[in-house]
């Protein structure tokens, strides 16, 4: 191993000075963001090349709290690759707390629930959507007929968008109960 390490040494030493020069060169182009005209030169095309070529920016809204901060999501080939700063949003002015700054991580969290599951005899079992929904609907239908619609309780969410919340209320109404609520009361 030692010999390999020695071999690796030679090109490294040679590259050092080269890298240093490269660093100085890029340094001057970097301060464009800070608007110091006359101090910096314009960045060349190569320097400001997008690290995510072909990505699009989507304006959306943070889901953490009721302030309603803006988020710009950079999406490349259907993958959310980077969360950008919405500096021009009139409420947040680009600001985020830790929750907002981490929205992208919520979406791509590894511990998300990945498929429908049911607990049967104390064990988690994987289901397809069709089977799961059939079974749920079946139970709800039976309860509607036997115990009456008020045997069901619907708990919606303040994380839903308006349309979903509205339709959730409609769903409860059409199921036939007023047993519906969400976090406004908490």
């Amino acid at each position: 191993m030692g010999i390999n390490e020695f071999d690796a040494l030679k090109p490294k030493v040679g590259r050092r000075s080269f890298l240093k020069m490269a660093a100085v060169a890029t340094a001057s182009g970097a301060t464009v963001a800070f608007g110091n005209e006359g101090v910096t030169r314009k960045a060349t095309k190569e320097e400001i090349k997008n690290p995510f070529p072909g990505s699009t920016s989507v304006k959306t809204i943070c889901t953490a709290c009721s302030v309603g901060c803006g988020i710009i999501a950079e999406v490349q080939n259907g993958v959310w690759v980077r969360q950008e700063v919405a500096q021009d949003h009139p409420i947040s002015l680009g600001g985020h707390c830790c929750k907002g700054a981490d929205m992208i991580d919520m979406v791509r969290s590894k511990v998300r629930l990945k498929q429908p599951m049911v607990k049967e005899k104390g064990q988690w079992k994987r289901l397809t959507w069709d089977v799961a929904l059939d079974r749920i609907a079946d139970k709800m239908k039976t309860a509607h007929e036997t115990a009456g619609p008020d045997s069901a309780m619907f708990l919606g969410s303040a994380k839903m968008c308006n349309e979903q919340a509205y339709y959730f209320r409609k769903f409860a109404a059409m199921y036939g109960t007023n047993n519906i609520d969400h976090q406004a009361r908490i």
């Binding site: 490269a22 660093a23 100085v24 890029t26 970097a30 963001a33 101090v39 960045a43 690290p51 700063v85």
Partner: protein, 202 residues
């Protein structure tokens, strides 16, 4: 060409509310491991009336960076615009920079065999490292290079209360002074710690 602007960080302690937005934004943007915190928020005198202050701390990109002075392998370099960067290919993980740094900026991953420290990692002011700009290697080692894209470092951009400022030191000084004077905090004209980090003797 005139003199280069020196880029600095400054955290307005009257505004910082310890929301950790900067530190999480940083960790998230550069996809750091959990135990590396390039930027962190600290609170002093917690719970004591009129004494509690919070501050966001990371590498302050000092003019006469002590880390650069003590580094045995000379892996640090200071760009013309004042950003202190280091070369992870050279770093041997001796942690001397940590001992020298007044701000606790250098971080070490504890992932080597037998608990050895890996190479140092610290705030790059979102300016990457010596690898080719915006290359895959640079991103892997140092995270995003937002400066080269013409973007503001992510921590300051995402600061929820605009407490964390970044930019030319003269400009930051102006912003801060304006805030202080309009609130009537008194005739404090120089931000605290300025002389320590940026070597301006008052």
């Amino acid at each position: 060409m005139g003199e280069f602007a020196r880029l600095n960080f400054y955290c307005d302690e009257h505004r910082c509310i310890n929301c950790d937005g900067c530190s999480v934004a940083c960790a998230e943007a550069h996809e750091l491991p959990e135990y590396i915190s390039r930027r962190k928020v600290i609170t002093m005198n917690e719970g004591i009336e009129n004494m509690e202050y919070s501050l966001s701390i990371a590498c302050m990109h000092c003019t006469d960076a002590p880390c650069q002075q003590v580094c045995p392998v000379d892996c640090f370099y200071i760009r013309a615009d004042g950003i202190v960067l280091h070369d992870k290919d050279k770093c041997i993980g001796c942690a001397y920079c940590l001992y020298a740094c007044p701000f606790g900026a250098p971080q070490f991953p504890l992932d080597g065999a037998f608990g050895t420290k890996g190479v140092m990692d610290k705030c790059t002011m979102c300016a990457g490292g010596p690898e080719e700009t915006n290359s895959h290697e640079e991103r892997e080692l140092y995270g995003q290079n937002r400066i080269s894209e013409g973007k503001v470092p992510v921590c300051a951009a995402m600061c929820s209360t605009k407490a964390l400022l970044v930019g030319d030191s003269a400009k930051i000084s102006d912003i801060y002074r304006e805030r202080i004077l309009s609130k009537g905090h008194g005739a404090k004209t120089q931000p605290y710690g300025w002389d320590v980090a940026y070597g301006k003797k008052l």
